[in-house]
Structures are given as C-alpha cells and as structure tokens.
C-alpha cells in the first residue's frame, strides 16, 4: 500500500511537470504569434506612411512644376496664379520653403519690367508679401 501511494505521488508530480511544460510551450507559441502580428502591423504602418509620403511628394512636385510653367506665362493673371500656388505650397509644406524662395528670387532677378518711381507691379508685390511672411523673424530687441 505504501509503495502504491508513493508511486501515485510520483505519477502526479510527473503529470504536473508535463502539464506545466505544455502550458509554458503554449504560452510561448501565443507570445510569438502576437509578436509576429505586431511586427506585421508595424511593417504595414511603415509601408502606408512611405506611400503617403511618396504621394505627398508627388503632389507637391506636380504643383511646383505647374507653378514654374505658370511663372513663364505672358499673362499676368496666369503668373499670379503660379505665385499663389507657391504661396500655398510654402504654407502647407514648410519643408519646401527653400525651393519656393529660390524660385521666387530667380523670378524677381530675371524680371525685365522696370517700374520707375511708381509702386511695384502686383506680381512683384505679392512675391514680397510671401518673402516677408516666410522670412519674418522675432525682433524683440528691435525698435
């Protein structure tokens, strides 16, 4: 009888050990699956962000090229539309500030119109509005 009790305790303990090991293994499988799922979601999010960035870049590039073409137009209203497009680009996408400023500066430098002692024409005025806003700085110690 003593032997039987000792044997059944050994069997029970072995069962507990085996059961525990199976539990740990299942938990490990579960954690691994969850990690893989999280990694897949992260990759998906990165791909989506990359796609959005490419789309944004393409949109701005298209707008920029369109504006460059409009700045070359003979008609003032078309040129003005190009200038307004560039203003919108610099407001919505501040990281494109440099090319916009360089493009507008080139436009002013190459502008053949001389307005004597009068006020600058509307396209030049609008460009300086944009430059003024874009290059504005905090002048606390100024007068």
């Amino acid at each position: 009888m003593q032997w039987w009790i000792a044997f059944s305790e050994v069997v029970r303990n072995l069962g507990l050990v085996v059961g525990g090991a199976i539990g740990i293994y299942l938990a490990w499988l579960r954690v691994t699956a969850a990690n893989q799922q999280a990694e897949a979601q992260r990759r998906q999010a990165e791909a989506t962000a990359r796609q959005a960035d490419l789309g944004r870049h393409k949109l701005v590039t298209d707008l920029f090229q369109q504006a460059v073409g409009q700045l070359r137009d003979e008609k003032l209203e078309v040129r003005l539309f190009g200038i307004y497009t560039l203003r919108q680009i610099v407001e919505d996408y501040p990281d494109y500030k440099r090319p916009v400023i360089e493009l507008l500066s080139a436009y002013v430098r190459d502008n053949p119109v001389k307005w004597g002692e009068g006020d600058p024409p509307v396209d030049i005025r609008e460009i300086f509005n944009i430059l003024g806003r874009t290059l504005e700085y905090d002048n606390d110690d100024g007068i």
């Binding site: 500030k97 500066s105 430098r109 003024g132 700085y137 905090d138 002048n139 110690d141 100024g142 007068i143």
Partner: protein, 110 residues
Amino acid sequence: MTTGFEEEQIPLDLHGAFIRRTLLRKANLSRANFSHADCTGADFSSSDLTDADLTGANFARANLMGANLLRTRLRGTDLRGTNLRGCRNLTDAQLAEAITDDATVLPEAA
C-alpha cells in the same frame, strides 16, 4: 511671434534685381545678397541684414530704420536719403565705404 520656419535660415539672393519700393519689414535677411540691386525707396525696416551683401546696391531713399547691420557689406552702397535711424551694429567703417549725403538719416550713435 514665431513662424515655424526659424530652424532653417535661407539666404535670399536678389543680386542685381530691380526691386524699387518693395517691402520686406522685420525679415530675416541675414547673408542675403543684394549686391548691385536697385532697392531705391525700399522698406527693409527692422530687418536683420547680418552678413548681408549690399555692395554697389542702390538703397537711396530706402527705409532701413531699426535694421541690424552687423557685418553688412556696404562698399559703394548708395545710402543717399536713406533712413538709418535706430539701425544696430552699424560702424563708422561701414558708413565710410557707403555713399551718403546730407539727407541720409544716421543712427543716433553714428
């Protein structure tokens, strides 16, 4: 006031440009290139022209009131009738290189 653009300073290149009577008040024009530009009557008051190049430019009757002229290159710059009142960091050496007349309004300290 902040504009959100302070992190990147972009030098403006308007060398040789005809920009009479244009307005660029309170603008960051540091390292800008206005050499040989016609800025007659322009208003750049309270702007920062640190290290800007105004060599040979025409700033006659322009308004540079309160501008920061630290190390601004003024060799041959036409400052006749220009308002320089309240300009900061303008030295006698800079002024000596520029073209001034009796109508030039000099900073109080100059």
